[in-house]
């Protein structure tokens, strides 16, 4: 059974758990105890979004292991000391498999992994690796590149926008690939970005979308929003929009451009299998279309057929590994060379990307 805890309901348990911790020390796990899997995420789990995608990724694990696993989802945990405390608690409660669902949990989660060699930690969007600590990230850029092509084909103004959470490499990469894809169809396309500097503030996200529309952006990329704030505002204004993780088509039946959907279940299942077998080895898991983790779904029927044919051709090349969106020549926004002609940016540099490509009009915050 999935236990949906909020931070507030968890608080009640903290005092009691603290007491048992003091009295009994760590309770040794019996061999037939189910494996405790805890997922910690910064936003509430809804029908859609990042948290939903992570929680849904654990369903096949539950289906495969039945009552051999006990899955707990702790939602709405802000990054920072609160998160460290909660992750520590869940591990000391005997949960030996931790999924830290946000970039900002990195330091706390890594410390837990170092202190508890028996615990396996998966950490979203990070770059640190340890023997029992794997960062994982989706190659969203493979999908945003394809949607960039569609966006440029549908845009009348040649101006595209993105409402983005924080200027971290993962989000920057998505915006860059979106821009590069758009340039395939319309070389003069211009992309504006509004950083809301929050993972979760629906009102501000909607204001940001309206600010972009005021600048005549007529396709908007909702980059890492967990609620349909941007998507529903775009439907109301008649502006095309797309998002990541899970489909929000029901919030924008007319103007939904598509979804860069993620399915974490193959990765989660494989990691749990390895943990149970004792063969888990921390590694950087950067997963995309060819791993069946990333897939663009719910394409809008308004996309012209000829463009759709081109998109499908490139999608196939991405899937078989013969094409990467970050293949040179790519020029940075400041005019310097980003990727040389004929070379392809290796994954290690993609996950650390801290520059915008030419065509992104908004300067990157430093």
């Amino acid at each position: 059974m999935l236990n949906n805890l909020t931070r507030r309901t968890l608080m009640k348990g903290v005092a009691a758990a603290g007491l048992t911790g003091v009295l009994g020390g760590r309770v040794a796990m019996a061999a037939d105890e189910p494996l405790g899997i805890t997922l910690v995420i910064p936003s509430p789990v809804g029908d859609v979004g990042w948290g939903h995608a992570l929680a849904a990724g654990l369903e096949p694990v539950k289906a495969a292991y039945g009552d051999k696993v006990r899955v707990t989802v702790i939602e709405n945990i802000p990054e920072g000391p609160d998160a460290d405390r909660i992750m520590n608690k869940t591990v000391s409660d005997g949960n030996n498999f931790l999924i830290a669902g946000s970039f900002g949990y990195q330091n706390g989660a890594l410390q837990i992994a170092r202190r508890n060699p028996a615990v396996t930690v998966l950490h979203a969007s990070g770059f640190q690796v340890a023997p029992n600590f794997s960062p994982f990230a989706a190659k969203y850029f493979q999908g945003t590149y394809l949607l960039g092509m569609a966006a440029a084909a549908l845009s009348k103004t040649g101006k595209l926008g993105s409402v983005s959470a924080f200027a971290i490499p993962e989000l920057i990469t998505s915006i860059n690939a979106f821009t590069l894809g758009a340039q395939v169809v319309n070389p003069d396309v211009e992309v504006s970005v509004v950083w809301v500097n929050s993972w979760f503030d629906p009102a501000k996200e909607q204001e940001a979308a309206k600010a972009l529309m005021a600048q005549k952006c007529d396709v908007i990329f909702s980059n890492a929003q967990d609620t349909p704030s941007v998507i529903s505002a775009c439907e109301e204004a008649g502006v095309y929009a797309f998002n990541l993780n899970s489909s929000m088509k029901k919030y924008a039946p007319k103007t939904y451009l598509g979804c860069v959907a993620t399915d974490w279940s193959p990765f989660f299942k494989a990691s749990v299998d390895a943990h149970v077998a004792g063969t888990f080895k921390g590694a950087n898991a950067f997963l995309g279309v060819s791993d069946a983790v990333v897939e663009v779904v719910d394409w809008n029927p308004d996309i012209p057929a000829d463009v759709m044919t081109r998109i499908k051709a490139i999608e196939a090349k991405i899937a078989d590994g013969s094409f990467s969106p970050f293949t040179g020549p790519i020029t940075k926004a400041d005019g310097s060379e980003g990727v040389a002609t004929g070379t392809t940016l290796p994954d290690g540099e993609i996950v650390a990307m801290d520059w915008h490509v030419k065509g992104v009009a908004t300067p990157l915050p430093k």
């Binding site: 909020t6 709405n76 204001e207 940001a208 600010a211 972009l212 600048q215 919030y251 908004t362």
Partner: protein, 303 residues
Amino acid sequence: MNAIEFILAGMLAAATPFLLAALGELVVERAGVLNLGVEGLMAFGAMLAFIIVYHDGGHLLAFVAAGLGSAVLSLVFAVVALGFRANQVATGLAIGILGQGLSALFGKSYESLTVKGLPRLALPWLSEIPVVGGLFIQDVVVWLSLAATLAIWATFANTKLGLVVRAIGENPKAAHAIGYSVVTVRFAAVAFGGMMAGLAGAYAAVVYTPLWADGMIAGRGWIAIALVVFGTWLTGRIFLGACLFGAVSLMGLGAQATGLDVPSQVLASLPHLVTILVLGIISADRRLLKLNGVASLGEPFER
């Protein structure tokens, strides 16, 4: 539409959640009570309103229910803090956490759902003026909040009721001595403040951003409390502060959309900085601050 038109058109709507909640807190504090539970009262009202609109109960009923619901919740604060004379700061915080918890609990099955907002009404003639015209196309709640601002200002300035509330905040003993029931008036003020916070939350959840998500109030209740203090308990300044805060936060987003080379972190903190700065400057006169400040704020009343 350029960036300036965008800011003018959106400013009043962006300010409304702050304004409604701050006006309520103004009345509460003027009566000498400090209720720090505004954030939770807003969340509670937002959740109630959203559920009603989602089940086709209509926006009017949603606002009524949000106002009443948050008023009732704030009366719990009143019973503990005024009836039992508990510490107001601690009680307010507790009620705030309770409100947030209740909203998360009952809102759980509505997470990430959306509803329809309210249509915008254009004032004839005025809305056709270039550039500033957008200022006069607003939904009905914005117009009503402006009316409420005027009404509260007029009440404090010109009516016996306003003077009684102020007297009780200034010197409850004296007010009591001439026959006013301090606790009754304070109860009423707290309930009014709760109602306004509920309406503010309702506006956020069913008009401004018509969707429900746990935590969607995102600190707006705290900003409302800050506006009351930085607005030195004056209705006009609180209105100014709310508009300024709304305008500068939109400005930050608009500036990014136009590609201005200012770090977004700076833009995100601008609303706070500018509001503090402006309200700080206009209330720099310490004599005036003392005059407007509420003498018995936060102190329990004992006969």
